[in-house]
């Protein structure tokens, strides 16, 4: 063939690195006391894909190395090798080695052969270890046959998942006849899954929407079973799986895909016609395939409905949509023009344009969104390795891995998170003995959580360690002159000190963290993403770091407001309500701080015109203007403005591109008439007010 394979190299490497990650995740997810068959299969497939690809593209070292790994995995899969911590460790070491080999192959560099050989030997030792009876590590072909014979001795019967395509009955086949024939072979337990049946109004009597699971309770030659199905082979999804005693089968086995994931290779000859499980899941009607374990075809299982696109292309698209949103809001302003009244179709068109622009924008933003698991996935390994290194028993609990965030956020938040997690393990969680002495469970916990909260992504890193030692933090801060010697600080303020530049309480600098480059860098990185970080700590109980990040970095819904002759934008997600207060609602605290009483709660009000130095507010008295109640993660307060204008989508532009950060302002946007308007930072405004009050009181 005259095809230049090198053009596919980058795809191979991209896929292989993804598969290496899968391998690693799978290994870490394995519970050695009760290995999940599906996970083992995933691991196996990942290794297999790498091997196949490496062979095709001529990366022989990668192929050879993966081959040995695959053999070991296959033993585990077939239950010939029991899974223990040692094997997992060896396999994890091999993952590192594989990554190194792939990196070397991609960059054309020289791999560390010694490491590779040593690792390969370890793998082979583990392989031969698993075979007390016959010793030599087998090649692929004979190896398949071997495992088949080994399996038969443990096999108790066959599990057959028979999923006829809907048109099977239309072609004159009778599923019941097939099942009856099976029952003649051996005693069978038959279950039928009718969950795919459509509702009555859509029901078609000639279609077959049932899935059967037949468990033959005796071992019969596989060929006999295949014979029975030979006439309908093309019209059903079929999985024939040996039932084996020593494998824990979990859950509902009614779906063909799941059953086939539990399957093991039967014989080398048969497996060559194997087709991919994932493809079968699509129920492709034209290609009725017999589901066999995916043992020998390379990497087809990664085929999904996706394409790889260069990020700059996506970004160009997003920018374009941003411009479109501005244009759309400009057109929207025309709706109120007196001379355009009465043109109903124009107005309809404008409303439609608005809806479509919004849909387009949401769709485009979705392209950049990825589940945060892309970032979280590295932590299980890290926590495990660090825990071992420090001799601490640590369990990582993750939640919300599917929370979607912007790709940029994933790229930029990973390092700060790594730092926080390391920090928790190194400084937060006490050694096991100290934990026992304190009456806590020996195993320390680190939690990594992600979730959405009013327009923000919240990521928490929590531990159940010793918490922040406030006395030491304060002492350290005084030594460094960060706090005056007699300054009084609230516990919260003391905790916040750890974000100061150059602050580290750990006396002994460890390999892991605490070189003085620390929390201040974390905070700066988070702020660069437009987010904030806070810490909550209870001595002896643990520490929680809370990172809040904006959901999207480009477009949001805004409430336009007017003060004097200036227009500002409040992010709509922060707005709780807007109201015209009457005199009875207004109360004063200490003579000057205005509050309004809202459903029994006193809410402080800030005058935007005063805080931002607007020249002439039109309405001096609270009862003449409008109070917009906003909510931050810390508190609720009112912003006093002259008028509410419209709500619209705004494209967020950075002030720092050409200017600098402005307190109380999170960014800017361009209004429909081409003017620049500033977006209020509701968190920052409150801070400004406190600063101002602080100055007054001092």
């Amino acid at each position: 063939m005259g095809i230049d394979l090198s053009q596919f190299h980058h795809i191979f490497f991209e896929e292989s690195f993804e598969n290496v990650d899968l391998l690693e995740q799978g290994l870490l997810a394995l519970d050695i006391t009760q290995p999940d068959v599906e996970t083992i299969n995933t691991i196996f497939r990942a290794a297999h894909s790498i091997k196949g690809g490496a062979g095709t593209f001529g990366f022989q070292m990668v192929a050879d190395f993966t081959h040995v790994m695959e053999n070991l995995l296959d033993r585990i899969r077939s239950g010939q090798r029991t899974l223990d911590q040692d094997v997992v460790d060896i396999l994890l070491g091999s993952v590192d080695c594989l990554r190194m080999l792939l990196t070397a192959a991609r960059e054309g560099g020289e791999p560390d052969r010694a490491l590779c050989v040593a690792q390969q030997e370890r793998l082979e030792a583990a392989l031969s270890d698993s075979r007390p009876a016959s010793a030599e590590p087998a090649g692929e072909g004979e190896e398949g046959a071997d495992s088949a014979s080994a399996r038969v001795s443990e096999q108790t019967g066959w599990r057959i998942v028979f999923h006829p395509h809907p048109e099977l009955t239309q072609r004159g086949n009778d599923p019941l006849r097939l099942i009856r024939e099976l029952k003649e072979l051996a005693p069978a337990r038959v279950t039928c899954d009718s969950s795919q049946l459509p509702s009555w109004d859509k029901y078609e009597p000639t279609r077959c929407d049932l899935i059967w699971t037949i468990e033959l309770m005796q071992v019969v030659p596989r060929a006999q079973i295949e014979d029975i199905f030979s006439w309908v082979e093309d019209e059903c999804d079929l999985a024939i799986v040996p039932m084996v005693k020593n494998v824990v089968l979990e859950g509902d086995n009614s779906s063909p895909s799941q059953a086939s994931q539990e399957s093991r290779p039967i014989a080398a000859g048969v497996s060559q016609i194997a087709s991919m499980t994932e493809e079968n899941e699509n129920h492709d009607k034209k290609s009725g395939q017999v589901t066999r374990p995916p043992t020998s075809l390379p990497s087809g299982h990664t085929i999904s409905q996706s394409i790889r696109v260069d990020l700059p292309k996506v970004d160009a698209l997003i920018n374009m949509v941003g411009e479109l949103v501005i244009t759309q809001s400009m057109l929207n302003m025309l709706r109120d023009e007196p001379e355009l009244q009465g043109y109903d179709r124009l107005h309809e068109g404008l409303a439609q344009l608005q809806r479509q622009t919004r849909a387009l924008q949401e769709g485009v933003m979705q392209i950049r969104m990825l589940p945060i698991s892309f970032c979280f996935s590295r932590f299980p390994r890290m926590v495990r390795d660090l825990g071992r290194q420090l001799g601490k028993d640590i369990e990582l609990v993750m939640s919300g891995e599917n929370t979607e965030v912007d790709k940029t956020v994933i790229e930029k938040i990973t390092d700060p998170l790594v730092h926080l997690v390391r920090n928790s393990i190194d400084h937060g969680i006490e050694p096991s003995e100290a934990r026992e002495a304190a009456g806590k469970p020996r195993t320390g916990h680190v939690w990594l959580r992600a979730y959405h909260q009013v327009g923000n992504i919240v990521i928490e890193v929590a531990d159940d360690g010793g918490g922040i030692n406030r006395d030491r933090v304060l002492q350290k801060a005084r030594e460094r002159g960060l706090v005056p010697a007699d300054g009084r600080l609230t516990p919260q303020q003391i905790d916040e000190l750890i974000f100061e530049p150059g602050f580290s309480t750990q006396e002994a600098v460890t390999d892991l963290s605490g070189r003085g480059v620390g929390m201040d860098v974390v905070r700066r990185n988070v702020q660069a993403l437009g987010g904030s970080i806070s810490v909550e700590s209870e001595e002896g109980k643990g520490t929680t770091f809370i990172i809040r990040l904006p959901l999207t970095l480009a477009i949001m819904d805004g409430q336009l407001i007017q003060v004097g002759d200036e227009t500002y934008i409040i992010p709509l997600v922060s707005v709780v309500e807007s109201l015209e207060p009457d005199r009875a609602m207004i109360h004063y605290v200490g003579g000057d701080t205005e509050t309004i009483k809202l459903r029994g709660e006193y809410v402080p009000v800030i005058r935007l015109a005063e805080i931002l130095g607007v020249h002439q507010p039109v309405r001096p008295a609270l009862e003449d203007g409008i109070v917009v109640i906003v909510e931050t993660d810390r508190q609720r307060y009112g912003i006093f403005v002259d008028d509410l204008l419209n709500q619209q989508q705004i494209v967020i532009k950075s002030l720092e591109d050409n200017y600098r950060r402005v307190p109380g302002i999170s960014g800017a946007t361009i209004l429909g008439d081409g003017r620049v308007a500033l977006i209020l930072d509701v968190d920052g405004l409150m801070g400004l007010l406190k600063e101002k009050e602080g100055m007054v009181h001092e």
């Binding site: 411009e323 931002l612 050409n658 200017y659 600098r660 109380g664 361009i670 003017r675 500033l678």
Partner: protein
């Protein structure tokens, strides 16, 4: 003297005085348009304008140099210039009374800024030259936008307000 040492400058006037900046730094010239005021800005920062989707700050050069102010009129223009700040290219606007000309000046014809007290902060001046019999003040754009470098001299502040 070879041509290599000759550079071109854009000249403009503030009142009766003629100033000039390196023409290679000039990106665009726009007529004056309403700006959006920024809170907590320095006195000489008029506000922000939209330049084809980019948010660009505009500096009132009279105020920056500590000269007396006057209302903007139809001759008032905004010169957009490029500068580097923290390894990033930024664009800023300068409001001037009126545009004059593009002149060439050789390195030898440029005289160092004299070290005497003048109405304007000498850090903003990179040199003096002459054109058509008039003195031209060459401005140092980098110090102009450096917010750390001295604000309006204290004794002149009252006048500018």
């Amino acid at each position: 003297m070879s041509d290599i040492a000759t550079r071109e400058y854009l000249t403009f006037s503030l009142g009766d005085e003629v100033y000039a900046i390196d023409i290679l730094r000039v990106r665009e010239i726009r007529s004056w348009e309403t700006v959006t005021r920024v809170p907590f800005a320095n006195l000489w920062e008029c506000g922000l304008v939209n330049v084809r989707g980019a948010i660009v700050p505009v500096t009132d050069l009279r105020r920056r140099l500590g000269l007396s102010t006057r209302p903007f009129d139809k001759h008032t223009v905004v010169i957009l210039v490029g500068r580097r700040d923290n390894d990033r290219d930024k664009i800023c606007g300068l409001v001037v009374d009126q545009l004059n000309d593009v002149i060439s000046a050789s390195a030898t014809s440029i005289q160092d800024a004299p070290r005497f007290r003048s109405r304007i902060d000498m850090r903003f001046v990179s040199g003096l030259t002459e054109h058509a019999g008039r003195m031209v003040i060459l401005l140092n754009l980098d110090t102009l936008f450096d917010t750390q470098a001295g604000a309006v001299p204290a004794d002149l502040e009252g006048e500018t307000q």
